[in-house]
Amino acid sequence: MIAFIGRSVIQKIVTLFFVSVVSFVIIHIAPGEPSQVDPLNPKFTPEMVERFRQAFHLDRPLYVQYAYFYRDLLSGRTVSWKDNQPALPKIWERFLNSLPLFIVGTLITWTISFPVGIRSAIHRGGLYDRSSTFVSYVLISIPGFFFAYILIIFVVNQFQVPVIGMETFGLGGTSWLFRVNDRLWHMLLPSILGATGGIAVLSRYVRSQMLEVENQDYVRTARAKGLPWEMVHYKHALRNALLPFVTMFGLILPGLIGGSVIIESIFSWPGLGRMAYEAILARDYPVILTINFMAAVLVLIGTFVSDMLYVIVDPRIRL
């Protein structure tokens, strides 16, 4: 066990090193330089550009820039090129904004897709199964931004749910209860949107896992013994079908950064995805690279956690 942990940690650190190299090379090999973003701006005199290039080591060879950048990143001194603010506190602030959205979205995904998937597996081939299958295909196929606009039209006209930003402007003096309520209202639409794709995929997966288990011999035995059907389905089948999902707790971690760019920019939610988008627009390389590095760390931690959970949950795996 210890040997397994040690080996996979070393492997993941090596992977992380190569990810850092690849992302650095990709971003610096692309044509154009950050100093050329706004050539018409009269403040960008050649001397300014030269000073800028020197301040951020842009005039040094690539491998020196790499060393400088990751030294700064690991010691927490990375500075955004856009406004000269330290990058990590900025990212942390945005991360705290994205986190509730992610948590609520994940909760919605898991609470809806399990009942739906289990029910359609139990009534396989029935009307419920077929319609939920079709609906989940539609949800997978619908472009997120299109669905967002449908919801916005519907919801704005019907329920007066706010669709812009994180909170209503000018709530300074109100009670905390009111503010929490306001925040929840603002979170409603973005988190539902963030959850739709997940619901569709996860409920299909739950259904197929459940079907696989329902075809096993021991389930037939349980049924043949004359056990009541809820006992057969929920105790014998479901428990064993749940096994792969424990490991998925690790794999949802990267969703914190990757999946929210479009939704956050539609709803003007000041989160991490939108920050990444703005950084890309401004060619703010330190911020882009830092977010990318954090995303890679999350992916690696996620796979590590899911491997560990699998070992813990499944007694058949011995190390």
Partner: protein, 388 residues
């Protein structure tokens, strides 16, 4: 032995031929899967309309011109007739009505949708073509040659060549060219007969070059792990935003960032196929490795790749639409479904058709690809086949 006896013995030993050919069986199963059938029909319609759209909207004097600006006719709802007196005859829509309405510049949305259909189609197919080609190559390499180890000299040659190319790209002309020439000379040396002959007994001080390092499989699979560490949409967005805006860049970038799944499938299939008897038989017949791979193994491994390619087309179309929506797609005068929608979002309450028509079109096309792909997966699953 008389001829009749031989014939009857043949007859007995001959395996019973299946009652249906492979394609008939496929079609029989396919027809039963109604959703997949609908998906295929929509897919065919989409293909036809994209081809027709390409013919109608391109050329110097297209029949449906997607770029005619009629400012006096802006934001007309679908199926409205043009105001005849204020328009030049050549600016009138060819069908007599604005089938899908007009946008904020008075351009015919129907013509723009036709033009965009071809963009979506090519983005989907080219991107997936690239990713499947890379995936089969990488997965096949890892699955077939995976157990072989890379010699140190190969690593060195690669490093020399890459270093030369890098130096050339960085602007160091002489150094880069020298490294490239040296690397190529080394390569030719090692594949030339003289080089082969010498390699069988290298002098002791050069023997370290033959040292074995990594396994091919480890190398490729670690590379796949590295690629999987990037959040894909974020990576695509970064690269597309940094590169000059062009439809080819989008296709290539989507293709280059989505091959990992295919590579894993193909590797797994190859690992199991390699051990099977027909591959051993082909080897015993003295076939070359390439022939075994391409004539015998790839056709057997292609089924899951086809399924994932179909679904990959759907997600490539969605990705392109998302990029266009964020403003990183195909540059403006050219219409795509994503940027029609993204232009129309400002008028969502006044002109909802600008949002709903492209959105619904993307939804329907992507849905049809997904249904078709899932249908294929069910049909190609041997457990569902009837014994006959």
């Amino acid at each position: 032995m008389s001829p009749e006896q031989t014939a009857s013995a043949w007859h007995l030993e001959e395996p019973l031929a299946p009652k249906r050919t492979g394609f008939e069986e496929f079609w029989r199963l396919f027809r039963r899967n109604r959703l997949a059938l609908v998906g295929m029909v929509i897919f065919a319609l989409f293909f036809a309309s994209a081809a027709v759209g390409l013919v109608l909207t391109s050329g110097s004097r297209p029949l449906c011109d997607p770029s005619v600006v009629r400012l006096q006719e802006k934001l007309r709802p679908p199926l409205s007739t043009p105001l005849r007196e204020s328009l030049q005859p050549k600016d009138r829509p060819p069908l007599g009505v604005y089938l899908f309405g007009t946008d904020d510049l008075g351009r015919d949305v129907f013509a723009r949708m036709l033009q965009g259909a071809w963009v979506s189609l090519t983005v989907g197919f080219v991107a997936v073509g690239i990713s499947v080609a890379i995936g089969i190559f990488m997965g096949g390499l890892a699955g077939f040659y995976g157990q072989q180890r890379i010699r140190l000299e190969q690593v060195l040659v690669t490093a020399v060549l890459l270093g030369g190319a890098g130096l050339l790209a960085a602007g160091v002309r002489t150094g880069g060219a020298a490294l490239l020439i040296a690397g190529h000379a080394w390569l030719f040396w090692s594949i030339s007969p003289w080089g082969l002959h010498r390699r069988s007994s290298p002098p002791a001080r050069l023997r370290f070059l033959q040292k074995k390092t990594l396994m091919v499989d480890t190398l490729i699979m670690r590379f796949v792990d590295i690629m999987l560490c990037f959040p894909s949409f974020f990576l695509i967005l970064t690269v597309v935003a940094l590169l000059p805006a062009s439809i080819y860049n989008i296709m290539i970038v989507i293709g280059l960032t989505s091959w990992e799944g295919t590579a894993r499938f193909v590797r797994a299939e190859f690992l199991s196929l390699r051990e099977q008897d027909f591959v051993a038989a082909a080897k015993a017949l003295g076939m070359g490795n390439l022939r075994i791979i391409f004539r015998h193994m790839v056709p057997n491994a292609i089924a899951p790749v086809l399924v994932s390619a179909t679904i990959g087309i759907a997600s490539a179309i969605l990705t392109e639409a998302g990029l266009s929506f964020l403003g990183f797609g195909v540059p403006p005068p050219h219409a795509t479904w994503g940027n029609i929608l993204s232009d129309g979002k400002r008028f969502i309450f006044d002109a909802p058709w600008l949002t709903f028509i492209p959105g619904a079109a993307i939804l329907i096309v992507v849905l049809s690809f997904n249904l078709f792909g899932e249908g294929l997966r069910d049909i190609l699953n041997p457990r569902l086949r009837e014994r006959n």
